[in-house]
């Protein structure tokens, strides 16, 4: 029972661990680029979760095998569920877009304040708003 539980779920626990590492970096790190690195870890961990939804044992990649081209049905082969893959393709693009905008902001912040440390920026902002 216990072993079954662990066998069935350990991948999920890995992704949760990864997510929490990224999440922690996002909210606890003072360095603005570190936050973005955390953001990337967080997002890819969520992607991993989506991909792991699709996994089913004994299936093959969701591209029709060449031998079943002629017959219009998918045949006897079982293919992996392609839908989560599509969703994650979209989400990866969204992820890199957010990263790009965030980095552009960090570059501007460094130009303005000469630091990318959250506490220092807060202090500078207090001293001369």
């Amino acid at each position: 029972m216990m072993i079954e539980l662990i066998q069935g779920k350990y991948v999920y626990w890995f992704y949760i661990t990864l997510m929490m590492i990224g999440f922690y970096a996002m909210i606890a790190k003072g360095n603005l680029i570190k936050k973005i690195i955390g953001l990337n870890i967080f997002q890819t961990a969520v992607f991993l979760f989506y991909i792991s939804i699709a996994v089913s044992e004994g299936s093959t990649a969701p591209i029709m095998l060449a031998e079943s081209y002629g017959s219009l049905d998918a045949g006897t082969v079982t293919y992996t569920n392609p839908l989560p893959h599509v969703l994650i393709l979209t989400a990866i693009v969204v992820g890199v877009s957010v990263t790009a905008v965030a980095l552009a902001l960090v570059i501007r912040i460094y130009k303005t304040y000469g630091t990318i440390d959250e506490d220092r920026i807060a202090r500078l902002e207090q001293e001369s708003p």
Binding site: K9, I16, I41, F47, E57, P82, V93, A100
Partner: protein
């Protein structure tokens, strides 16, 4: 078993990327993290996503981070020690992120108890909508890569949204940091 080691490597590299003070090495570790993620996804049969992650996560993201680093600071600054008026309050405040993260993690672990087992072909996600695509995408769209069939046709509108997102990001970056000339 390989999966287990790959996942383990991911955790180690994530921890390293977050804790090291040299952000450049942190970025490089992040790149290898993405690459290993891509390998893992290939093992999970999602070749398209793995391809994209290798190109984007390990490629473009690393490029962008290094480009940004070259214009900011490579080494993480030491945290400032400031006298706090209420030391106890300050210490509690420092613990808050950890608490939030642990609570979120606990909720997520709790939800896994009711999840279908990993790799279960009978999981509901694989039964309801998905079989239709596998059965019909070739006769209906003439595309043999099911992922492309869904991406471009069944959920083509999502892809339009996706391209709009990246376009938005592009002009946002132009708006934010393009050098004004003349």
């Amino acid at each position: 078993m390989i999966d287990f080691f790959l996942l383990f490597f991911l955790v180690i590299s994530a921890i390293f990327a977050v804790t090291t003070r040299d952000i450049l090495s942190s970025v490089i570790v992040l790149g290898s993290y993405s690459l290993v993620m891509a390998v893992l996804w290939t093992r999970f049969n999602s070749v398209d996503v793995a391809f994209t992650e290798a190109a984007v996560g390990a490629g473009i993201t690393t490029f962008l981070l290094i480009a940004a680093l070259s214009r900011t600071l490579r080494i993480e600054e030491e945290p400032e020690i400031r006298e706090s008026v209420f030391p106890l309050f300050q210490r509690l405040k420092n613990l808050l992120p950890l608490f939030v993260v642990l609570a979120t993690g606990a909720v997520l672990v709790y939800s896994t108890l009711d999840m279908p087992s990993f790799g279960d072909p009978k999981a509901p996600a694989n039964l309801h909508v998905a079989p239709y695509y596998i059965e019909k995408s070739v006769p209906e769209t003439g595309v043999v890569n099911f992922v492309t069939a869904i991406l471009a046709s069944y959920r083509g509108y999502d892809t339009l949204g996706e391209v709009t997102v990246i376009f938005t990001a592009g002009i946002c970056v132009i708006l934010l940091i393009r050098r004004r000339k003349r």
